[in-house]
Assembly symmetry: C2
Homo-oligomer: 291 residues x 2
């Protein structure tokens, strides 16, 4: 009996919502109804602006405002104008609020303990391993790939992370790469893609036109914590698809021979090594693939 992936996902979904979702609610509902509790927990020990809370929790602004008045009335939070922009308001926990927050945190910890406590050490290790894997893959599967101009804040953040990393590894200095990339990786001949999770960039990559009319993939980067989730391969596939849509028939890229994992990935994806096609001083390997 071979089980379909979707069957497994659905079965787990069911088990999970019934066993943990239900527990979760009963644990969080401590005197206060669920809404205010969740909000209090989300505000967290370092505080947040109303705007952020609205985005993160997806609440109506009127509803959120009312919830905040409630917490304020209980003396758990303080709301005051943001210093840099007085339209926004910052929410912070009071002393009592921090106590309440810690109680919620304890409950959440208790819930987790309730779940692992009945298991033997071996079973517990297996569960932890399975959940960590599932966590990574679920997050990877729900990453959003988005075309962004290289000048967009998230694109800049991603590219900065990329430059920082190759700076650390090879002493690379971006110089005027910022400006050059911004020009070459925009329409009509190029584009830039950022993968975001919870609004944070976790991977990126761009395509630009080479003089001979083929496409070149550049600035490909995957966040440290996201290695091993197939995100690189997925991004690569996405870039190829987008390049094909742009009318390219051949895609090339260069890389450094110390990046063995990246090279393995390119080879798995059907790239073959070719002779040097550019004068990039940092590159040691050159690859090509027909789209």
């Amino acid at each position: 009996m071979l089980e379909e992936p979707t069957d497994v996902v659905r079965r787990f979904n069911r088990t999970y919502t019934q066993r943990i979702g239900a527990l979760d609610e009963s644990f969080l509902g401590t005197g206060r109804p669920l809404g205010p509790s969740r909000l209090l927990f989300e505000i967290g020990e370092s505080g947040a602006t109303v705007r952020e809370l609205r985005d993160r929790m997806g609440l109506d602004s009127g509803y959120l405002s009312r919830l905040l008045r409630g917490l304020e009335g209980d003396g758990l939070v303080e709301v005051r104008p943001d210093l840099t922009d007085a339209r926004r308001r910052r929410v912070t926990l009071t002393r009592r609020g921090r106590t309440a927050w810690r109680r919620l945190d304890d409950r959440s910890e208790d819930l987790a303990r309730t779940l692992v406590a009945p298991l033997s050490d071996r079973q517990r290790a297996r569960l932890v391993d399975a959940l960590a894997t599932a966590d990574l893959l679920v997050r990877a599967a729900t990453v959003r790939l988005e075309d962004l101009p290289p000048t967009d804040a998230r694109a800049v953040e991603a590219m900065a992370a990329y430059f920082a990393e190759i700076g650390r590894r090879f002493g690379f200095e971006p110089g005027d790469a910022w400006r050059v990339d911004a020009e070459s990786m925009t329409a009509p001949d190029g584009f830039f893609v950022v993968a975001t999770s919870d609004g944070e960039p976790v991977a990126c990559g761009g395509v630009q036109r080479l003089p001979d009319g083929s496409a070149q993939i550049k600035r490909m980067w995957v966040h440290d914590g996201w290695r091993g989730a197939g995100l690189g391969a997925r991004l690569l596939r996405h870039l190829e698809d987008r390049a094909r849509e742009h009318g390219y028939a051949v895609v090339r890229l260069d890389t450094n021979d110390t990046l063995t994992e990246a090279i393995a990935m390119y080879e798995r994806a059907g790239y073959r090594a070719i002779a040097r096609y550019n004068d990039n001083p940092w590159a040691r390997c050159w690859f090509e693939k027909d789209l």
Copy 2:
């Protein structure tokens, strides 16, 4: 950096509720509010009694009744007295109800597909594996161990499953074992424990008093689909704890030498082989442990 099990559980919890829980609700909420949708889905293509629904979903009887009137009003279900007991009522889907049910099922399938679609084959296989493991272990961790009189319906069901299994394997015939067990495995000298998951018995075991004043564990059984989740070891520990509470200092048990996994479990739990202490014709090994 060694991560605590509870941290992993909590992180996964967060990822899951944010990414899938939210999706789940938006997928199910198709015109109808969530409550009626869930109920419709739970009734299923084969129908159910009102009682079953109440137990499975943990709803107030008044509330459930009202939800059913709503579905009835939309022409999705029919409610009629149960044939064997006219106090109960059976709910079945109408033609339209089946259509609506199938739409819900499709949505749920779509959701699962959305989740696995972006992954590569290898990643998908890893996710399926991780979720299947997590499913088994989460279910195992949330099993309920309950003292029940051997005559209770669930106890009888569990013991019947046990007899059926050893009947298949060894040709064992219960005979008057039912009556004998029911007497010996009740207070004050004995007891019977049933592990239930969603109200279904998934494991059982009993303790009775031996002539020499030690305790004997009998009728230990774990459901096929639950092997490998550490449930047997947990049940064994539970039986020992309860026996200790009853004042026993020594516990014994017999088994058949073909049940190698059971024997391995007993040895891991600290049991040592002893000489034959009873005249059970089916037994080939005898074990003992000091409490």
